[in-house]
């Protein structure tokens, strides 16, 4: 069978120049700049950094511009760029207890040390379209108040003091890295956390919601949700000491979940954990719920067959770049594959006498 394999080049080139023109849109409308995207579409930038697994707001903004706002396409661009970077090392694990919190709330304690800090949240807005934003020129100013500079303690820390919640004792085992070795089952908790923090927000949200609706229910309370910046320390081998190389914004969610206990251990709450680049609390809460559901085995719970409990199902389908790569490849030419299927169906129909049936019908 002869299959034409040439001839698309001119069409492809024209498609790309048209794409560039459509991306720019009508030239009488001002062009978007990278700083505008970085500063005014910050939550989109944060999502691209989290799922692209590379913290660089300028690059994420560029990717959003290039992808015309298609965030999965932007994440794809970031992942591809990431692979070109030599890796200089790793940071010290971030100390989220030292976070300069923009937001810090607890759904379990009203009066907690450090207080409930709402931050720049959509909560309590009326979710009504604000037509004032369509008119130009608004430069609102935030209120300020004297802040105390004390470290804001983690809620789980004071539950720990009473022994009411499982501990997360410090451990310095070097973590596995799924960007270096393929993800294999069974996946350790460290590997699950890495896969979940870069997982698709929609997929993670759907799975987390399924646990709330009863598929692997674990009765989560948001013990604490905090958003803010943390200093990042990196060991510099040639100098023999670590320096703070920058600050990044993170969202952290700690859930307090249903308790376990045994004959030897009195009942204790358990925990789920979410930590995500940027300001992305929906993702962080979702991550914590799914992370907790995946811990069923180590906590001695039953496997109920719920999707969120199935590590293989969750981790192998959570990455939107893998998923979209495989999904979208089916739109690319499969002429030869299809020809062979076509031949096969014709042959089977001949054997089944379909030709005669067809003739009889006519």
């Amino acid at each position: 069978m002869y299959v034409a394999v040439k001839g698309g080049e001119r069409a492809i080139e024209s498609a790309h120049t048209w794409l560039a023109e459509e991306r720019r849109g009508p030239t009488e409308i001002a062009e978007l700049s990278i700083p505008q995207i970085r500063e005014q579409l910050k939550l989109a930038v944060d999502r691209v950094m989290a799922e692209g697994s590379l913290y660089d707001p300028d690059l994420a903004a560029l990717a959003i511009k290039q992808s015309r706002g298609d965030l999965i396409e932007a994440i794809f661009l970031i992942r591809a760029y990431r692979t070109t970077l030599p890796r200089f090392g790793h940071s010290e694990p971030v100390d989220t207890g030292a976070m300069a919190c923009d937001r810090r709330i607890s759904a379990t304690f009203k009066d907690l040390p450090g207080g409930q800090i709402l931050g720049p949240t959509f909560d309590y807005t009326h979710r009504l379209l604000d037509f004032k934003l369509a008119a130009e020129g608004e430069t609102p100013e935030a209120a300020t108040q004297e802040a105390d500079e004390a470290r804001v303690p983690h809620v789980t820390g004071f539950l720990n003091r009473e022994g009411l919640i499982e501990e997360a004792p410090q451990d310095d085992t070097p973590p596995p890295d799924l960007t270096r070795e393929p993800l294999e089952m069974p996946a350790s908790r460290a590997l699950r956390l890495q896969a979940l923090t870069r997982a698709d927000e929609g997929f993670t949200l759907g799975l987390a919601y399924s646990t709330q609706r009863g598929y692997g229910r674990n009765h989560a309370f948001v013990g604490e949700l905090r958003i803010g910046s943390v200093p990042l320390d990196m060991d510099i081998p040639e100098l023999g000491f670590s320096i703070e190389i920058g600050e990044i914004t993170l969202t952290e969610c700690e859930t307090v979940n249903q308790f376990t206990g045994s004959k030897t251990q009195p009942p204790q709450f358990t925990r789920g954990y979410g930590l995500v680049f940027g300001q992305s609390e929906r993702k962080a809460i979702s991550m914590a719920l799914v992370e907790r559901a995946l811990r069923w085995e180590e906590l001695g719970e039953d496997f109920e067959g719920a999707p969120a409990q199935d590590a293989e199902f969750v981790l192998y389908h959570a990455d939107n770049i893998q998923a979209t790569g495989f999904l979208e490849h089916i739109k690319l030419p499969h002429y030869v594959d299809f020809q062979s299927e076509l031949e096969l169906v014709r042959k089977l129909r001949r054997e089944a006498g379909a030709d005669q049936v067809q003739e009889a019908a006519e």
């Binding site: 697994s53 890796r87 694990p93 971030v94 997360a168």
Partner: protein, 151 residues
């Protein structure tokens, strides 16, 4: 847990101050203070990444959170002082200026550089942090209990 800031050496502190300076600030302050000294590259500015780690449950075992872009370089001044820089992001000019300041801080110009470059950077960072903390503090909920008389 990581060392607290006070346990760090003087050099660790100034390298950190230089690394977290806003884009273009180190260059601007250095150039306002003195003409740039001659130098040779030990390692020309290079962009790469560092893997950021977190801890399960905030305090437990480490895991890989994702990478961050980093620029590094190293240079030698004519007097032999070696300056290093590691800064967040893709910022070759900032890394160069930071490495120059690091090298100058090890020589006779240290006091001048501290006053002209480091002190303003520390003040700028503190002001930025304070402004943000003040905005957060204004959104802190002050609960009060409604008095409900029993009579």
């Amino acid at each position: 847990m990581k060392d607290t800031f006070d346990e760090k050496s003087d050099r660790q502190r100034w390298m950190s101050t230089l690394a977290r300076a806003a884009e273009g600030r180190v260059s601007a302050l250095l150039d306002a203070a003195m003409p740039r000294p001659g130098f040779t590259w030990l390692r020309a500015p290079e962009i790469g990444s560092t893997m950021v780690r977190g801890r399960a449950g905030g305090t437990g075992a480490p895991f890989n959170l994702g990478e961050m872009t980093v620029t590094r370089c190293a240079l030698t001044l004519e007097n032999g002082a070696v300056g290093h820089a590691y800064v967040q992001g893709r910022r070759k000019a900032d890394a160069t200026a930071a490495a120059l300041v690091d090298a100058l801080m090890q020589g006779p110009e240290a006091a001048q550089i501290r006053a002209a470059v480091l002190d303003p950077l520390i003040a700028e960072h503190a002001a930025k942090t304070k402004t943000r903390a003040a905005k957060a503090a204004a959104t802190k909920v002050e609960f009060f209990t409604m008095a409900r008389g029993e009579d």
